[in-house]
Symmetry: C2
Subunit: 209 residues, 2 copies
């Protein structure tokens, strides 16, 4: 691996970690360069052009892999004729993310990064949407599987549900990083979250439109 590629990768990982801990406003380009071992404060600008370019690069780096795993899950769901099964679709969305967290118990930051940074990022940009194909198909199939709900209600529930799951995973990740007690193991928490997400999507509807 060339030194330029190493250098770029070190900046991505340092930035993910700092943004996960402090959020967008608490981190400067100088902090990131220093954490990645650069004496040169313009390293971020050299590799990514701007903070927005850096953020997009972090998302692309993580989402490319997660999108591929989602695609494999989704192909299995559709191949088994379960494309109307809310639980199977929720698992296809969530498990690729939770498997990534489970595989990096000593140092995952991505759940917290997602929870803190996603609200300020425009995911409709072409370079981000190209690594979200499977996730978007899952949402469309979930809307279909929730055909008893008005489309707008289904979309709002799906949006809230995914945001809530990411927040819950960020909390698990943070408690794990701080060595704080957890009510459940990561595996059990994921099973609970999937049960709860299915219940939440299929819940009786009162007034909300």
């Amino acid at each position: 691996m060339s030194s330029a590629v190493d250098s770029r990768q070190a900046l991505l990982e340092a930035a993910e970690q700092l943004y996960a801990a402090r959020g967008l406003e608490g981190v400067s380009m100088r902090d990131i360069a220093a954490a990645a071992g650069h004496r040169n404060n313009s390293a971020v600008q050299y590799h990514f052009g701007s903070r927005e370019g850096l953020l997009r690069a972090i998302f692309r780096f993580r989402m490319r892999t997660i999108n591929e795993v989602r695609r494999a899950y989704l192909d299995n769901v559709v191949g088994a004729g379960r494309e109307g099964d809310v639980r199977a679709l929720v698992e296809a969305e969530i498990r690729p993310l939770t498997e990534f967290l489970a595989e990096t118990p000593d140092g995952s930051y991505y759940a917290r990064f997602l929870a803190r940074v996603s609200p300020s990022v425009d995911f409709t940009l072409p370079e981000l949407s190209e690594v979200q194909g499977a996730g978007r198909e899952i949402v469309q199939r979930l809307i279909g599987a929730l055909g008893h709900l008005p489309r707008r209600v289904a979309l709002t529930r799906i949006d809230l549900m995914f945001n809530m799951i990411i927040s819950a995973l960020a909390l698990v990740e943070q408690r794990r990083a701080e060595g704080r007690p957890q009510l459940s193991s990561l595996d059990d928490t994921v099973d609970h979250l999937i049960d709860m997400a299915v219940g939440a999507l299929l819940a009786d509807r009162t007034g909300a439109s």
Copy 2:
């Protein structure tokens, strides 16, 4: 109001706002003193003793009011004989918080403060537990209302559910503060969240223990 009380209150509000935006690690005592108009960097230490004392004071300030509103909701629920009604109990927990957010549309920070700071705070400290009486009773009554689930499963679901709702409200608050488009109004989002929370608590259970 005396100047010392004003000064203390200004520090509380400045700290809540800064922690909401940047999290614990992104804010120094100096930042808080400056934001509250102090030239003296030891203002936080003078009023609160330490960062931990400041955090507890912020929670006490907000939770005292929210706890009283929860108590009123809970008294109504029990008075109407609905103490086994999951939806009524969820509303008693959530609406006092969402009413507070609805009443301060131009500048609420408490949902984000809760979402960012709660994971690092010990709520079993006596001075915090004394303003949580209604919330704790709601949790105990919810466990009773979920009597078909093992107590440990019920507790985990309740913990995850409340954390997820706070995260969702923090996201609404952030999008509102940034002037970003929302899928739903705050009122509709709250109705959706309550429907989803009830569905999540009452969801079919698979393997998770």
